[in-house]
Symmetry: C2
Subunit: 460 residues, 2 copies
């Protein structure tokens, strides 16, 4: 039966592409209010497309741009309930002069890996969304139904920070109650190797201001006797990392579990070259904990980075000033097991316990989200691994993400759902940049892989 | 004879004040080209005043504002040759709305210490210059001559950085060949206690930029594996000071002699309260070398202060960036014996020996001047101490200056001359600020003290 579904996808590739092109021609730029009507056209296009396929589809209004909710529940209560998330909005196309074709007039262009679809939204996220729609269409065409209960949620503000997503989830809470979320907004490991994002680092952000004298002082008249807040700030923050790269905040590593064997062995097979990865940005040496592998430093170990620092004179030449204050902004990337609130609390302790006389510290917390790991033995994870392996002839890379992915946190905190991140983009797809593209082969294999995933989720 | 000179000063106080007021009425603001004609009037006033007293006085042109050179050499070749330095220009008077009277219409106003002269330039430097002129006038009136060979040099650009002073010294080199320089542009220790500035700290200034990645990076995608230049900068600069406050740059203290006994005992008598000094700027604890007294930390020990630091994101909230570069500006206050060039070289070594992999350091030097100490046993120093003691009934405080005084360095490097800094201002005179004042008593005692100094210099 699955073979027939895949065959249907193969034989209707032109039609699928035509539907994707329709969607890509709508400049649904959520950041620009001039495109509000286009966003409305895009949400209607998605609703109508799904309704025509037999979904119970409707637009769900928010204070911002609306979402689409579409359900197909014929598989019945014993079938798993999958929540597919995607977004119909796209990034602005600027700078337009760097595009080789009209960003909203999609083209099929020859490239080194065969034909590629070039347009704003080609892969992020319209191409990936349509891949999933077409996988559903093939199942429906061949079997007359879907193997799982399926709810599709599209939002229209992902590219501007999802300001209405929580409202949408709240309004639709009952309709979204499901077993897990499927998100196809990520990349493969490379053109040959699919990927599932198995770990995501969280984040805790803090701003620290050290105050010394009540006003800026002349460094000649006061230098030596007056506490200099920049001196104090560098002295304290200079102790953040030990010589082995370990972060010296008390309790910083509390609660972190060892990296699962399955992840470690998957990473070992990836052929990741830190020299190549770092070489692209002018670096050569992994700078994290000396004892950890480069991929562990990137994906599975926490960090302490000073993202900004300022105090005193920043103009040309010299100014003999001892400033009143100095400030640093820091983010801690967190891994599962670390408690963001506790990390921020311990950072305060780290700083205040090192304050010299006459230096005062004030803190601002600027967001905190825990790290996240998908349970590798969850049924949907096992199903996804085998489905992707079947399509690509090799198991998916179980990758990590060094940065947070807000929707994953939001689904976890709002709906209590884990997320399966399996997408079919490539690192060189130029998302958010001119000449965004989606390899035709990736679109095609994406549809086939999504069809296999739907089938695999149903096998228990 | 000296008594008669002093008596003459006392009995002509009104006339002296009238001449000072004439000078103060000329708004000779060197920073503002609109006042170029006023500066010309001021230099002519000074030349004419000195010429009328019998000096060989003339204007000495420069590419900028002119100087005055005036000589009275009747004392003959065996008498000491004193070079008096002052300036006829003043700071701008802004903000005008904070003045209680017209800054260029001098007033005698009652204050807690008796009458005070209020005007821009009242003490800096017209009041102090006229004090010296009037001391000469009294000597000339009573004795028909001066006890020393005297050359007076006034410049017109002190308030804007003395850009033409070196040109002036070069043009007049032969006329300025003398035994030492007398400068009356400084303050007394307090209303009752005169002061001689015996030590001046020098300065070495450097800018350090640490470069990590070739471009700004996302702290999620690269955090942990990429060298963060702000982390590196704080780690390195955080090691500048040891726990005892000592500066950790190799060889930093090389060549520094112990503080002379005479200075230490003078400082011990000053009743300096670091609590009071620091309390005015919201501090309480001397922050320098733990083993040194507060005054030694201020005047006689070198410093390392970060005057400015910047890198990465400085706006509101958080930005998850690992920047490409981070920069700090530093000044080292230096004391006699330290070699500024060597200090900057050793700072480079300090930084480069601590650079982590993938971090590169670049340096800019931004000025270097050695510390300076007047030989306490020089004849002019001994003479000055006894003359000031005679006038004030107590020996002058032998103070230090934590900051550099550019003209002292310039006289030393250009003419090889030591400088005697003995002025009659007070710390609360509001120089460079609205309502600048000179206590009438300070003006009066300044004239008497200058008359005594001239006499004392002649005694060998």
């Amino acid at each position: 039966m699955l073979d027939a579904v895949l065959q249907s996808i193969d034989s209707h590739l032109e039609d699928s592409l035509a539907r994707l092109f329709e969607f890509l021609r709508i400049p649904s730029i959520s950041a620009q209010s001039a495109h509000a009507a286009d966003c409305r056209r895009a949400v209607e296009w998605a609703r109508d497309t799904l309704a025509a396929m037999g979904f119970d589809a409707r637009i769900s209004e928010t204070a911002g741009l609306p979402g689409v909710i579409a359900q197909y529940h014929e598989a019945g209560p014993s079938a798993p309930h999958v929540l597919f998330y995607g977004h119909y909005d796209v990034q602005p196309a600027d700078p337009l002069n760097l595009w080789h074709s009209d960003p909203f007039d999609p083209k099929l262009i020859d490239g080194p890996r065969g034909k590629k679809i070039v347009a704003r939204g080609a892969v992020d996220d319209k191409g990936q969304v349509v891949s999933f729609f077409e996988a559903c269409r093939a199942h429906l065409a061949v079997t007359g139904t879907l193997p799982v209960r399926l709810t599709i949620l599209l939002e229209g503000e992902e590219e501007c920070g999802s300001p209405s997503l929580i409202e949408l989830l709240t309004n639709e809470r009952e309709n979204l109650a499901s077993d897990f979320v499927l998100v196809a907004d990520t990349n493969m490991w490379n053109f040959a190797t699919p990927a599932i994002t198995a770990t995501l680092r969280g984040l805790a952000a803090a701003e620290l201001t050290i105050t010394g004298p009540a006003r800026d002082l002349h460094s000649g008249l006061y230098g030596g006797i007056a506490q200099n807040p920049i001196n104090a700030l560098t002295k304290i923050l200079g102790q953040l990392h030990g010589e082995d790269g370990k972060i010296q905040i008390p309790g910083f590593y509390d609660g972190i579990a060892p990296i699962p064997e399955a992840l470690q062995s998957s990473w070992a097979k990836l052929g990741f070259s830190s020299a190549e990865f770092l070489g692209e940005v002018g670096l050569a040496h992994p700078a994290g904990e000396a004892k950890e592998s480069p991929l562990a430093q990137l994906w599975a170990r926490p960090t302490a980075d000073i993202n900004g620092i300022f105090g005193g004179y920043q103009g040309e030449g010299a100014k003999t000033v001892i400033p009143s204050t100095a400030t640093a902004k820091l983010t801690f990337r967190l891994v599962p097991g670390q408690n963001p609130a506790k990390i921020l609390e311990n950072f305060k302790t780290f700083v205040t316990s090192r304050l010299p006389p006459d230096a005062k510290a004030s803190f601002k917390s600027m967001g905190a989200a825990p790290g996240f790991a998908v349970a590798l033995d969850a049924p949907f994870m096992r199903a996804a691994q085998s489905a992707l392996a079947a399509e690509f002839g090799q198991p998916p890379a179980l990758v990590g993400s060094g940065g947070s992915i807000p929707v994953v946190e939001i689904f976890k905190t709002q709906l209590g759902l884990d997320t399966l991140l399996a997408g079919f983009g490539l690192d060189d797809d130029c998302i958010h940049s001119p000449n965004e593209k989606f390899e035709l082969a990736c679109f095609h294999r994406g549809m086939r892989a999504q069809a296999r995933l739907l089938a695999a989720f149903a096998e228990k």
